[in-house]
Structures are given as C-alpha cells and as structure tokens.
Amino acid sequence: MQGTEGAVTPNAAARSIARRQAVRCGSVGLLVTLGEATELMEAQPPARLPGSPPWLLGLANLHGHLVPVFDVARAVDETRTVPARAHYLVIGRGDRAVAIVIDALPRRWEENTPVSADVPLPEAFADGVARNAYVHDGVAWFDVDFPRLFERLSAPLHADA
C-alpha cells in the first residue's frame, strides 16, 4: 500500500456514525453516510477518457447524466483489478454526482470502535481527506471527506489542463 505515516486522532473528529454504510474498495474500507450516497447500481462499462489517471475508470450514464467513475482502491494499490461483479455507489447528486467502484454490497456500520493506535494513512487520504480511521476485522476503515477526496483524485486532470 502506498501511503504516508500520518495519524488521525480518534476522538478529535468524534461524531455520530449512526446509519453509516461500510463499503469495501479492494484493500480499503470507506464509511459512507446515507445522505452522501444517493444511489447503488450494478456496474456498467464506463466510457474511458484518454490520458486520465488509472483510478479514473471513465464516465458512466446515470439517468441521462454523465458521472465520473473512480476506483479509489486503485489510487491506493496500483496492481488492483476491478472484480467481475462490482457495483457503483453514487456520491452526491445532479452535476456533482460521482460514482466509486465497490467490491461488495455495502453493509451497515454499527460498530463504534475507534482505534487507539495510529493508523498509517495512504497518500490519497492524507492532508485531511480522512477524518477518522478505524480497524475492524483487520481492515482499516476510513471516514473520508468525499469532496476533498474526489478533488485530490481529479487533481491530475486539472494539472494536464
């Protein structure tokens, strides 16, 4: 895993985590509130964008709107491949909607067990992208600020422009 040795203080960003869903993106776990996620759909082949970074899979048609599809796990692990029965989880709505590839259906996140030790942060989650981090079943779960995450993931496109 690529990453930096950062730290997220569990209690620093303590807030209610009720009604959150846990989604697996490869080796990374993300926590999503039902307000942030707007739709779950079966994955469809996206339209690739030439010169885009590898974690940007392309554009998908969502009810007549084109939404970018990110593979967050690829941003962390370059060797990652998308599984056959993947789903898209749409974050945001309208023109600001973005889809991320998830490996399995979301599960309800009921555990409230902040880690007591430092959790190594992947580079993509550094600089405040990850607001909190947890460890459950040996997997690091991150409570991320999706707008900032997408902004960081799409930064190479702005640089090219």
Binding site: R19, L34, G35, A37, E39, L40, H87, R108
Partner: protein
Amino acid sequence: MNIRKKLILGGALVGLLPIVVATVTLGVSAYSSAKNSLAAESEAKLTVVRENKKAQIEDYFTRLAGEVSALAETQAVIGALKDFKTAHRQIAAESGSQARLEEMRAALIKYYTSDFVGEFKKRNPGDAPDMAAYVNGLDPVALTMQYQYIVQNSNPLGQKDKLDAAGDPSTYSKAHGVHHPGFHALQQKLGLYDVFLVDGESNRIVYTVFKELDFGTTFDSGIAAKSKLGEVVARALNAPEGQTVAMSDYDIYLPSYYDQASFLAVPVFEGGRRIGVLAVQIPIDKVTAVLTSGKKWRDVGLGATGESYLVGPDFLMRTDSRYLIENKASYLQGFAGWGGTPQQLQIAQKKNTSIGLQKVDTEPVRAALAGQTGLKTYKDYRGIDVVGAYAPFNVLGLNWALVAETDAAEVLAPVTDLARQFLVIGVGLALVLLAATAGAVVWFVRKFMRPVNALQDTVQKVSRGDYTARARVQSGDELETLGSALDNLLDDRIAALAKAQEENEKLNDSVIQLLQTVASLSQRDLTARAPVTEDIIGTVADSVNQLSDETGRVLNEVTRIARIVDHASQRVKGQSDAVNTMAENERKSVGRMQEQLEYATRTMSQVAQLAANTNTAAADAAVTTKTALQTVEKTVRGMTGIRDTISEMEKRIKRLGERSQEISSIVGLINTISERTHVLALNAAMQAATAGEAGRGFAVVAEEVQRLAENARGAAMDISNLIQNVQIETNDAVLTVNRIIDLVVQGSETALTSGEQMRLTQETTGRLVELVNQIAQQAENQTRTAEELQRGMTDISNSTQQTADQLQAQSQVTETLLTSARRLVQSVSVFKLPKAA
C-alpha cells in the same frame, strides 16, 4: 556280721545311749529358753524404734504446720500478699502489645523445651510432656511474670531464687524487690523446698521463691491445676474456719520434674477476710533422713538388716528403702521381683529413690492402715521373713503406716550360735565316752574269742588237705572238751581214707591200658590189640579186639567198590558237560531271536498305532475341510449380498448428490433475490435520507429490509457452503463405495477360488483317509502275526530253558556222585587195614 562285731556294737550301744539322751534333753531346753529371751529383746528394740520414729515425724509435721500457720498471721506475709495481689493485676496493662506478648511466648517456649526438658530428661526416663502446649495456655499475666523472672533471669536453672527484682519498672517488680529477700531467708531458714503466695480472688500463684513453672499460673488452667498443690490450696480457701492447715500426701509434681512432692497450705486473713493462701513445698529429704536414721541404722538398734519406713494408702513407700541406699545395684536387681514394673524400675534408677515406687503390700501395713498397732513375724516386701513393729501414722489428715522391721535371721542369730555350741560340746563328749567304752569291749571280746579261733583254724586246715592239723585247746572250759572231741574224730577218718586209695590205684592201671588200645583204633589203626587181664577190664579188652578185626574186613571190600564207582562217574561227568555246553549255546541263540522278535513286534505295534492316529487325523481333516468349504460358500453368498447392498447405496448417494445440486441452484436464486433486495433497500434508504425528516420513517423500514437482505444473503451463503461440503463428501462417499465394491468383488472371487481349492482338498483328503485306513488294517494284521510268533518263540525259549535246567541238574548230580565216590575212597584209605585174604 560275726560274733565279735555283734559283741562290740552291743557293748557300745549300752554304754552311749544314756549319755546321748541326757545331752539332747539339756541342749533343747537351753536353746528354747535362749531363743525366747533373745526374741523378746529384739521385739522390744523394734517397738522402741517404731515409737521413736513416729514421734519424730509427728513432731516435724506439727511443728512445720505451726510455723506456717504463725507466718500466715504475720504482717509481713499479709502485706506481701496484698502487694502482689495489687501488682499482678497491673501486669496485663503493663505487658505491652500483642506482638510483644508473642515474642515473650516464643522465648518461654524455648526455655520450656530446652532448659526445662533437658533437666527433666536427666531425672526421668522416656520423653517429657508437650511443654509448648503449657506455654500456649499461659495468659498474658503468667506470660509476663515468667518471662521477667525466668527467661530474663540470668541465674542458671535451679538458682532462679537469687534474683531479687527484674529490671523492668513494673509495679510487680517493685513489690518483688521489697518482699523477696525476706521470703528467701525464711525458705532457707526453715529448710523448705519452696514457698508460694496464692491470690484468693484470681486463684493465681502470685509469688514463689524458686520461680518454677508454676510461677504466675492459675489453678484454673495452669500447670499446677490438677496437682496436690492445687488440692491443698483449694482446701485452704474453702475449709471452714478453724481447720486452718491443709496438708497433702506425696505425689509427682511436673514443675519439680515429676519428683515426689508434698504441700502444706494455710489461709491468709486480713481483718477477718480471707485474701489468699500461704503454701510451702515440704522437703522430702527431711522425712527420709528421720526414717533412715541418717543412714546409722546400727546406732538406733536396727542392726545389719533392720529399717523403718512409711507407707501410703496406695501401699507405696513414702521414704527410701535401706537396701536402695546401701546397695543400689542389688536393690534394683531385686526390684522387679518385689512387685515393681519396668517403668518404675527405670524411674527408681534415674531418681535414686523408692518413694512412690516400692510396693509394700504386707500384712502389718494393711493392719496399720486399718488403725492397728502390733508386732509380728511375716514376709516383708522382699519376700524375706522379718520381725516387725507397725503402727498407724495419722497426722494432718494423712493415713500412712509406719513399720520398723529386722530380718528374722538376724534376730535369731545368737540363738543359732548357742545351738551350734551345744551341738559341738555334746558331740565331743559323746565321742570321748564312745572311745573308752569301745576299748573295754574290745579287750573282753578278744579274750573270749581266742579258743573259738583255734577250732576255726583247725577245721579250715583239714578242709585244705592238711590232715595233720589238730586244735589242742586248753581253756579249761566247755571249749577245751569240744577241741579234744574234734581231734579224735580227725584221727579215725584219715586212716580209713588211706586204705581205699591203694585199691583204686590197681584198677586204674588196667583201665589205662584198655584206653590206650581204643586210642590207637580211633587213630584208624585197626591192627592195634588190647592186653586181656584177669579182672573185669580183661573181658572188655577181648570184645574190643574182635570188633576191630571185623571192621577191617568190611572196609577192604568198601574200598574196592568205591574205586569202580569213581571210574564210572568220571565218564558220565564228561558226557554231561558236553551236553550242557550245547544246551547253553542253544539257549543263547533262542534268547537273541526272542529279543529281535520282541523288537519287531514293538515296532509293528507302533506302526499300527501311528497308522490309527493318522487315520483319525485324516478323518478330522476331512471334516474340517468340509466345514471350511461350507464356511467359504457362506462367505461368497454373504459378499454377493454385500456387493448388492453397496451398489444400492452408491445409487442412493448419487441421487443425494443430484438433490444437493438442485438445492445449490435454489440457493443461488435466493442469493440473487436477496442481493437485489439489498440494493433496493439501500437505494430506498438513500432516497429516504435525501427526503430528510419526511423520509425518516421510510429510512427505518429500508434499513430493516437491508438487514433482512443481509441476513438472507448470509444464510444463503451458509447453505451454499454446506451444500458444497455435502457434495464434496458425497463424491468422496461415492468413490469410497466404488472402492469397497471393487474390494468386495475381489474378495468374492478369492472366496470362490478358495471354495474350489477346498473342494479339491476334500476329495484328496477322502482318498488319503481310505489309503491310511488300509495301511492301519495291514499293520494290525502284521502286529497280530508278530505277537503269535513271539508267543511261539517264548514257548521255545521256555522249553530250552527247562532243558538247560534239567541238564544242569543232571550235571550237578553227576558231579555229586563223582565227588562222593572220591570221598568214599579217600575215607576208607585213611584206615590202616590188615592184609586182605
């Protein structure tokens, strides 16, 4: 016994009898008188000793009781008791913490178990009691007092009385420092073993001079609780007014190392109120010194064997035995035989005393304990006859017996000496008179016996052949007449005897000549002839001559015939020997044949037996083979059944696998439905979340649907896993069943092959049985034939043996005949015969 001895003995008896009678009468009378006189003197001595000892001991005890009673009334004792009563109550408050008490207890346990037990073992056989238990039973007051005045007392064991006051600043030590010197001096002056002060309220020994292990303890639970000291203190505390002195009998006392101890106690009053008790431990050696007369028994009239002692109601001595003091080894040697146990013997040896140990269950002791006074002869505790004076000793409540006794042998020793003197004088006088009387009697008898001896000598000489001997007695009395008659008789008889002897000489010569002729004949000389005389012997000689002539003729004829028989017998003997040799050879040949035939018969019999055994074994083998064949056939049938069953099982397992495959399809459908439901529920929840407060209720429903979908997916996943496992195991089962079917098929084929082999074996075994049966029958026939041959050979052997025996007998007869013929010729040839006509 001859006349001379009879005369001497008779004379001596007549002379001595009056002397002996007179001497014996005088001696017996004098002995009896002296014995009575000496016994009376000895009994008087013993009575005096008994009364003296009794008065001394009574005086000692009553004086001691008086002194202690007087002391108890002094202000010194009353003041001391009051001070100790007050001081010992403050000890509990001054003794310090519990930890300090435990330190003191540990130090006391060390003292009890090392110092005290060490001294105890020196004085007693066996082990000491559990002394640590006594220390553990001490209360804080006793613990503190003993610690300060025993453990902290630097004086060695036995000299703890030398400490006037302990170094602690307690009230008790101050009181002890004031009063102890006075009590110490009092104890020394009165010669007491120890002095005690007892608080009547706490029932505690608040002071002692010697600081033994009873110091500071109470009579409720302390070491002296059940002792004689406790008994007299209780009596002094509870006795009605007026009975002021309580004294105990002797008993062992643990604080004094189980030595015998006796106590005396008096109550202490102050202003008419009883505040406590003054008690003393009486020294035993004082009483013993009085009864043993300071070991000077001879000076008080008890001689070499006399002694005086006290005995308690338990029939045990209260003073030491003289025999222990004078010769301990001898006393201990006899102790067991005088009623002592082995344990008492060990105690007596260790403590060097007989007090409380020596049993004295004698008649005078019983009488004295019953209150009687007297004097008599009896067997003492050693089983020896003694003369003793006894009396009861009842002072201060004691019930003892006092005995003064001396061995009867010593009392009667002067009488015995007197009797011995009488005997010596009487015997001497009798011997002198006997010698004088004997001399007179011998002189008289010798004079009387002289002519009698002459007659006796004459008769003895004639009987020995001296026909010239004559008596020629000249005594002038009847014996002289008797001697003359004897001489005349001898002259007549000797003349007649000489004439008869001459005639006998002639007849003897004729007989001798005849005997010489007969002797020649007996020497086989038949040519000898006897001279024929004119007397009667001549007739006998003629007859003898005729007899020898006839015998010579007969013997000549016998010699001739015997030689003929000898020749004939030699020829018969030669023939007989030849026949015997042949018969022996024949018998040996027959014997060898018989042995060979016996061996052949035995071998044939063994062959027959082996054939019979083989026949039986072959028959058994046939039966076994048949049974095995049946078993194999059953096995083949059973395996065929198993193969069918397993084939059916395989089909069913395959059907089970197909069913589980169908279940997998259904589970996949369920999984798909639940997944779709999950997506639907999540989308619904997201929409509800987007709707805000209006969608809250719907969000709950959507969440619940999501939960159900998750559960359904989990269950479907579990079922799918289970079905996969079932399918895997089903496939394994099918493979296993197929392998089993192959094995069963192989086993069936093997069993079929085995059955065929069994059938062949059965047929072969049947043929073998038939052949062996034929062999057995042939062997039996041969055995019978051999047995018949053997019987025939036995008959031949017997006949041969009989023939040999007969020939042997004939040979022996021939031998005998030949020997007889030779002996006959030899016998006849010894005679010297006249020439044959």
